[in-house]
């Protein structure tokens, strides 16, 4: 019996203890310890940063709606989106949390590139290329912080990759000065180190011109907020006067000769990567996860020959009534009539439709998140109007140059000889007509201090707390260091 124990049980025990390799083998994912080693890894990190910007909860869909709802031109269909379009904003609404989440994910992806790429030692990644990739990530980070600070004011300041969950300070007490600084430093670094142009194979990656354009926009926004907007004092824009810096940055672009207005307003939306578009997010048709959802959200339900659209974002009759219908942009801005693909009937405003739809993102077919329509973040007309706005406020440069170029394409007579206040009104109006529904409304109305005034046109009585969105309740629950914005 001893033998049985000796020959069977004991060897078995020994065998067993030896077999106990409990290391966890990874099969279907990579870990940071075996990544960030060469040029391809650095680029993959960068592409993930782009992808985070383009995803559904950010520019792919949800962020767009948040950037338009505060405007009097844009409402939801009345069923979707928790009445955000009806100025019902509160910290519990999912959209806020989703967009906030997506933005900070984008920040972390960019921070990871900024932190990891310097440490890569690989022959295929020379220092200049490293610097260029870092500049690109810093541009993406600045863009997201600029979006965050405009929507939420003081927001957590994070400038490094998060590698552990202990001991982080993500409060938002008076972070605005730091965030503004980071935005401007990142953009200055980017305009210095990004290339002048991108060849076709790199189309979609940032050049120095978008960094300059965004920087102009930052100066413009800060100066406008300081001068016109009832924003909270802790937003760190008191006394800022950067109008002239904005004029200079915009002028760098207008004088470079890189960009121009297209002759036909339709082409602005129909021709991708055109000479008018300075930076656009690239979407591919018919590849899962690489499409934009905005067209199917905005085209009328049933209007597509193939696939489905939902018509969630609509415009308002009140806004359309402010237009001169002979404006060359009118027909590409409003959709007054369409034919249902499913029953062949034609629906028209105002006979049947209660409000017009939006025409700028018109498509004839497409499927959810499979639409390839690129989303333009900055186009040349925007730069021209920024130039005019800043020139008018600062008294430097020619305020009519940009404005009249845009008016001329719209078939409108050039303006001249206005007082500063009249010109201000004219430039603002032109900006709304030119750029409505393109994701700029919240920032523009905020900068000009006109959110309540424009909402009143739709019959809403708002107070001046509508200049910032509420910080999501779930975020405050997870991070008690966060302070809610006033009024929520």
């Amino acid at each position: 019996m001893y033998n049985i124990l000796k020959y069977i049980t004991l060897p078995l025990l020994i065998l067993f203890l030896n077999a106990c390799s409990l290391e966890e083998e990874a099969f279907d994912f990579v870990t940071p310890s075996n990544f960030y080693e060469n040029k391809n890894d650095a680029l993959a990190g960068l592409y993930a940063s782009y992808s985070a910007i383009a995803e559904s909860n950010y520019y792919g869909n949800k962020y767009y709606f948040l950037s338009e709802y505060p405007s009097d031109a844009f409402v939801s269909d009345g069923i979707s989106d928790d009445d955000l379009g009806e100025y019902v904003w509160n910290p519990l609404q999912d959209n806020f949390y989703n967009v906030w989440t997506a933005m900070y994910k984008a920040i972390n992806q960019a921070n990871t590139v900024i932190d990891r790429v310097p440490g890569i030692n690989s022959a295929d990644l020379p220092q200049e290329l490293k610097t260029e990739i870092i500049a690109e990530a810093r541009f993406l980070r600045a863009m997201t912080y600029f979006n965050l600070i405009r929507m939420w004011g003081n927001v957590p300041y994070v400038e490094h990759e998060v590698t552990g969950i202990e001991g982080l300070d993500h409060g938002n007490e008076n972070t605005a000065p730091k965030v503004w600084n980071l935005i401007m430093e990142d953009l200055k670094f980017a305009e210095t180190h990004l290339p002048d142009e991108r060849e076709a194979a790199e189309r979609g990656r940032a050049s120095k011109w978008i960094a300059k354009g965004l920087l102009a926009k930052v100066y413009l926004q800060r100066s406008g907020l300081a001068q016109f907007s009832p924003v909270p004092a802790n937003w760190a824009v008191d006394g800022v006067n950067e109008w002239q810096l904005a004029v200079e940055k915009a002028a760098e672009i207008t004088q470079s000769g890189h960009y121009q207005l297209l002759d036909d307003f339709n082409q602005v939306f129909d021709v991708e990567n055109s000479a008018e578009r300075i930076f656009e997010l690239q979407y591919l048709p018919n590849v899962e996860g690489l499409g934009s959802e905005i067209p199917i959200q905005l085209n009328p339900d049933g209007s597509l020959a193939q696939g489905r659209s939902f018509g969630i974002g609509r415009t308002t009759p009140e806004f359309m009534a402010t237009w001169d219908t002979t404006d060359a942009r009118f027909n590409r801005t409003f959709l007054l009539e369409y034919t249902s693909a499913s029953n062949g009937e034609t629906y028209a405003y105002p006979e049947i439709l209660l409000a017009p739809y939006i025409e700028k993102y018109r498509v004839s077919d497409g499927s959810e998140d499979l639409n390839g329509m690129n989303f333009t973040i900055l186009r040349y007309a925007d730069v021209l109007l920024m130039h005019s706005e800043a020139a008018n406020e600062s008294g430097t440069g020619d305020p009519y140059f940009g404005l009249n170029a845009v008016r001329q394409r719209a078939g409108l007579a050039p303006l001249s000889g206005l007082t500063q206040a009249e010109l201000r009104e004219a430039i603002r109006n032109e900006r709304i007509m030119e750029l409505c529904f393109e994701g700029h409304s919240f920032a523009d109305y905020q900068r000009w201090g006109i959110i309540e005034e424009r909402a009143a046109r739709l019959g809403y009585e708002l107070d001046n707390t509508y200049y910032l969105y509420p910080i999501p309740a779930n975020e405050i629950m997870a991070n008690p260091d966060l302070m809610q914005n006033p009024g929520y």
Partner: protein, 1047 residues
């Protein structure tokens, strides 16, 4: 705690050694003693029969206090040579009262054995062995095959419902083959699995429904099929539920949620017995929601328009007048049907003196009460035990099953477009038809714009043309070799495998919402799980004398599982002919995906059961587990338990038999663990996210999760005190238990501030406790010609999060409503939000609340919880509901009269609450979004009907009801779960036995709940979101007839 564990771990190896030496010593002493007995001899023979005079094979016949003996043969006959001086023979057989017969001067002894109704000598299967029921020190409940047979069930976990104290069974989906969630003594964990460990003929299986089928992204959140439905319940001999640490600690890191041991039927020595069991059933939907018909709906829409000062929608010009609409379409009637089910089982069992076998084949087919849903299963099973030599035994268990489920798109947690079949059957407005005039399906684009009706999907089109088939194959096999070294000492080697494969085929053609969106959506997915198990144990059982009995087991085990699979999708098909059968016909292929993961667990285990003077019972057990799932520094841990029991009935002062026939006190303490988190959670990972550069897809790789190398098991410390009482010769027995389970180092999926760039991370933090009382009573009330046996079980559990280790958070949002609120001091699953106090019925009430405005008349009145004179959605939140029941109970009755049997089974749940997110659309009197539940409409506030608590109809924004207690209901119910009447055909030449029966399930339900069934959780096995009724598959009322025949 760590130091303490370490002490055990360090010493456990030495203990094994000491134990082995002990085994050697005791074995070598007893062996020579047995060899001493010799001549002269005499012969004894006879026949053993049961109470009915049937021959009893396999009865042990022993000369008292020796090992001399034999076993009766197929005819019940035996012959034995015994020493001449023998005076007493002992006859024993499992389930029968052992008899001692004086043989002085006799050579022929025929004996009739008596069944042991008290079942005290019954052997109970426990982990890695079995013990006499009277020797149990732990909390173990059993469900026998007879009980399971009384209710037609699809899967064995359904059979536990209401049967056993401390076990709560919740149907995640009432669909055929739908998922089930089982909680033994409450949920011990927040983020790890809370399902018990199932051990099928020794093979441990964790029933994770989500892991067992490919996730179809089309209709989000539809409930996963039941992973245990691949096993035919007809094959089960018994189910043992191990509840306290004394019983479960031997399963170590997987024992914290309790263990369900399943033993399948095995052959007995004797002539082949053939059995055929079959039943046929008819099912109907038990309850429909009372929704508006076409005319009522149109009137409500118009009323809402009027309340908002808008022109009416159904004006007789653009749209018809309400009166022209009549009944309209009843979408529920369109998708519900009377459905049939059938079950057939053929089994053969028998054996010779050295080989026993049992084999069966089963076919089960259940059509669902929702059109298009169905579940079919075919299975075969075979097991065999053979005595190769007297000492060496070999056994094999083989089970194979194949099941095919046609899945209805129910329980979707989506709102809007992809709410699925049940969601759209409830919400779709009754004014639109099923078919257009040309015979094609009516769908959303056919609705004129700005009618603003959310007709999401034509559910009939989805059910009839959508395809979602889950096909599973499972092979479960193991083999063992049992070698008896000496009397009482044996070695057992077993090796087994569980091969599970599940394939999902999906196609949604045009006409369904997803198909319209994608121009045809196809998906094929495959999951393959391969699990290997090696278990090697040594057992020593010895009754030294009447005063000392020892039962020890020690062993080493190893299990590993590889799970891999893939999923491919395609969209934009030219037509709907080829479907998922030819994915390349889709113009737009999805990005193919595959996955692979692996875990391993290795263990050393041991247990000692010792009975002293038949009165004092001790159990010590321990298991050291090493698991790959955990962080580098925390791979191994030790889980000990100790229990003792005092059989007070054996004390002289109790005067056994006068009143008490049994009295036993039990107490146990132990530590168990929980490892059911997803694999790889301790590692930082990078995820793939793609982008387009230069019109080409490029692969992006970036951070996806943040690391935690310190991740380790949750440990649950379990205390249990119990009492077993038998009275009046065990006509009345009672088992009562009190338990207290404290779980520490909770694996928390901590919601991170999103500014970290990650959504959540796993961390060991927090404590949670469950305590409760369980009572089971069994009474033989009538024992004459009319027999009545009644069985009641009752249990309560209280759950509380003692420490969270993170900020409170909301669990995943369901249908636009916040999930459960997870916070210290509250049980798992509570809801937190605004408190309502009826509605503003009049202007006086508005004047009472400073924040209310005149236009709020007829809308919900919120309570200023904080008392600051203003209502604020964040500041004025409170606990508004709790899905945990106060208690659950079951009452089972068996009546026997002559050849008739009647079974009546009632169960209930008391004091729980249900949240119904679908009411956000169907109960908010905002008709432009959805059809409405009638009671909300008839009660709606109007100027004429101000005394109500239901808000007015509106076409606009009706306040933030979804963050309030408005959709929370009492979920208590009493259900007549089963009634079965059976007739046992008297034995004749053709049949060995025959029984015919009729039965009905779910015949009666007492509940205040408006929805289909209060016994629901559309969130399935989710730990946090309990009691959610979201687009749930309705439950059925079932009538069955069946026969059981034995040849």
């Amino acid at each position: 705690m760590n130091a303490y564990l370490f002490f055990y771990l360090k010493n456990s190896k030495r203990h094994v050694g000491i134990m082995l030496i002990m085994l050697l010593l005791t074995g070598s002493i007893s062996a020579p003693a047995a060899a001493v007995v010799v001549i002269p001899e005499k012969s004894i023979s006879g026949r053993v029969t049961d109470e009915n005079g049937e021959p009893m094979p396999g009865v042990n016949i022993l000369v008292k206090s020796t090992s001399i003996g034999t076993i009766s043969d197929v005819e019940g006959r035996y012959k034995l040579m015994v020493p001449d001086n023998t005076t007493t023979l002992v006859f024993s057989s499992v389930g029968y009262i052992a008899k001692e017969i004086d043989i002085t001067g006799r050579s022929t002894i025929d004996l009739k054995m008596e069944q042991d109704v008290t079942a005290l000598s019954e052997v109970v299967v426990i982990g890695y062995g079995s013990v006499r029921k009277s020797d149990l020190t732990g909390a173990v409940s059993s469900v026998s095959s007879e009980e399971l047979e009384r209710v037609p069930i699809t899967s064995l976990d359904q059979g536990l419902s209401g049967r056993v104290p401390g076990v709560m069974v919740t149907q995640a989906s009432a669909a055929p083959g739908g998922g089930i969630s089982v909680r033994i003594r409450g949920g011990n964990s927040i983020n790890s699995g809370n399902e018990p460990l199932y051990v099928i003929d020794g093979f441990p299986i964790y029933s994770d429904n989500g892991e067992s089928s490919v996730y179809s992204g089309a209709y989000n959140g539809t409930s996963s099929p039941n992973a245990l439905s691949t096993i035919s319940p007809d094959d089960i001999e018994s189910i043992e539920i191990l509840k306290d640490a004394s019983a479960t600690a031997i399963y170590g890191s997987r024992g914290a949620n309790g263990v369900v041991l399943i033993t399948t039927k095995r052959g007995k020595e004797g002539a082949p017995q053939v059995n055929y069991n079959a039943y046929f059933g008819m099912q109907k939907v038990a309850k429909k929601l009372d929704l508006l018909n076409g005319q009522e709906y149109a009137e409500l829409v118009n009323q809402a328009n009027i309340n908002e000062g808008e022109p009416v929608t159904f004006d007789g010009v653009v749209n018809p007048l309400p009166s022209e609409l009549g009944e309209g379409t009843d979408w529920q009637d369109e998708v519900f049907r009377t459905a049939y089910q059938q079950n057939h089982q053929v089994s053969v069992s028998g054996g010779s003196s050295n080989t026993r076998y049992s084999a069966s084949a089963n076919y089960y087919d259940q059509k669902g009460i929702v059109i298009g849903s169905r579940f079919q299963r075919a299975s075969v099973r075979m097991n065999m035990d053979t005595d190769i030599t007297k000492k060496l035994k070999l056994g094999i268990n083989l089970k194979y099953s194949r099941s095919v489920g046609h899945i209805a798109q129910s329980e979707s947690s989506n709102t809007g477009a992809t709410m699925g079949l049940i969601g759209s059957a409830i919400q779709d407005v009754p004014v639109f038809p099923v078919y257009k005039e040309d015979g094609s399906f009516f769908s959303q684009p056919d609705i004129p714009p700005d009618m603003n009706f959310r007709h999401q999907e034509n559910p009939v089109a989805l059910a009839l043309t959508g395809k979602d088939i889950n096909t599973s194959n499972r092979f479960l096999g193991n083999m063992y070799l049992d070698y008896t070294i000496l009397d009482g000492l044996s070695l057992n080697f077993s090796f087994g495998t569980d091969l599970f494969e599940s394939r999902r085929n999906v196609y949604f053609p045009r006409g369904t919402r997803v198909g319209d969106r994608d121009n045809g959506y196809a998906m094929q997915g495959l999951i393959n799980k391969t699990s290997w198990l090696s278990e090697n144990t040594i057992t020593y059982k010895k009754d030294f004398n009447e005063n000392h009995r020892l039962n020890m087991v020690a062993g080493v085990t190893w299990q590993e599982e590889v799970r891999l699979g893939n999923k491919v999708e395609a969209t934009n098909f030219i037509n709907d002919i080829l479907q998922d059968n030819k994915l390349s016909a889709g113009a737009v292929p999805g990005i193919p995906n595959s996955f692979k993961s692996k875990w391993q667990i290795g263990s050393v285990l041991g247990r000692i059961n010792y009975a002293l003077y038949n009165k004092y019972l001790f159990t010590f057990s321990g298991r050291a587990d090493g698991s790959s799932r955990f962080g580098a520094g925390n791979k191994w841990a030790f889980f000990p338990s100790v229990a003792l029991a005092w059989r007070m009935i054996e004390e002289d002062f109790l005067q056994r038999g006068k009143v008490f026939s049994d009295l036993k006190w039990r107490a146990s303490y132990g530590i168990t663990g929980n490892t059911q988190i997803n694999v790889y959670q301790s590692q930082a990972t990078l995820g793939i996210s793609n982008y387009a550069i230069g019109n080409q897809m490029v692969v992006g790789i970036g951070p996806a999760s943040v690391a935690n190398p310190d991740l380790k098991w949750e440990t649950t410390t379990m205390y249990n005190a119990g009492l077993d009482v038998g009275m009046f010769e065990n006509r009345l027995t009672l088992t009562a238990d009190y338990y207290y389970n404290l779980t520490e180092d909770l694996l928390m999926e901590v919601v991170l501030p999103r500014s970290y760039g990650f959504k959540s991370s796993f961390r060991n933090s927090g404590e949670l406790r469950n305590y409760g009382v369980e009572i089971g009573v069994n009474a033989h009330i009538l024992t004459g010609k009319l027999k009545w046996e009644s069985n009641v079980n009752w249990s309560m559990n209280r759950n509380e999060i003692l420490k969270l280790g993170s900020e409170p958070f909301y669990a995943r949002n369901i249908g636009g409503i916040n999930g459960a609120y997870i916070a210290e001091g509250y049980p798992l699953g509570v809801w937190y939000g605004a408190v309502t106090n009826g509605i503003y019925q009049n202007l006086d009430q508005i004047a009472e609340d400073p924040w209310a405005k005149e236009k709020d008349l007829g809308t919900v009145r919120f309570v200023d919880v904080s008392g600051d004179g203003d209502f604020d959605e964040l500041a004025d939140r409170a606990i508004i509901g709790d899905p945990n029941p106060d208690f659950i109970w079951g009452w089972n009755n068996n009546f026997t009269f002559k050849n008739f049997e009647l079974n009546v089974f009632i169960n209930g749940v008391q004091g729980n609450e249900i949240i119904s997110p679908q009411l956000r659309f169907t109960g908010n009197v905002r008709p432009r979004v959805s059809n409405q539940v009638r009671e909300f409409v008839t009660n709606a506030w109007t100027a004429e009907n101000p005394n109500t608590n239901t808000p007015k109809a509106t076409s606009g924004n009706n306040g933030r009801l979804e963050y309030s207690d408005f959709f929370i209901y009492d979920g208590s119910f009493i259900r007549l779960k089963n009634v079965m009447l059976a007739y046992n055909v008297p034995k004749n030449k053709i049949f060995r036995s025959a029984k015919v029966f009729v039965s009905g399930q779910n015949l009666f339900l007492l509940s205040d709940y408006y929805g289909y069934d209060p016994e629901t959780n559309s969130q399935g096995q989710n730990n946090l979101n309990l009691g959610v009724d979201m687009n749930s598959y309705p439950s059925a009322r079932t009538y069955t007839v069946g026969i059981n025949v034995g040849f």
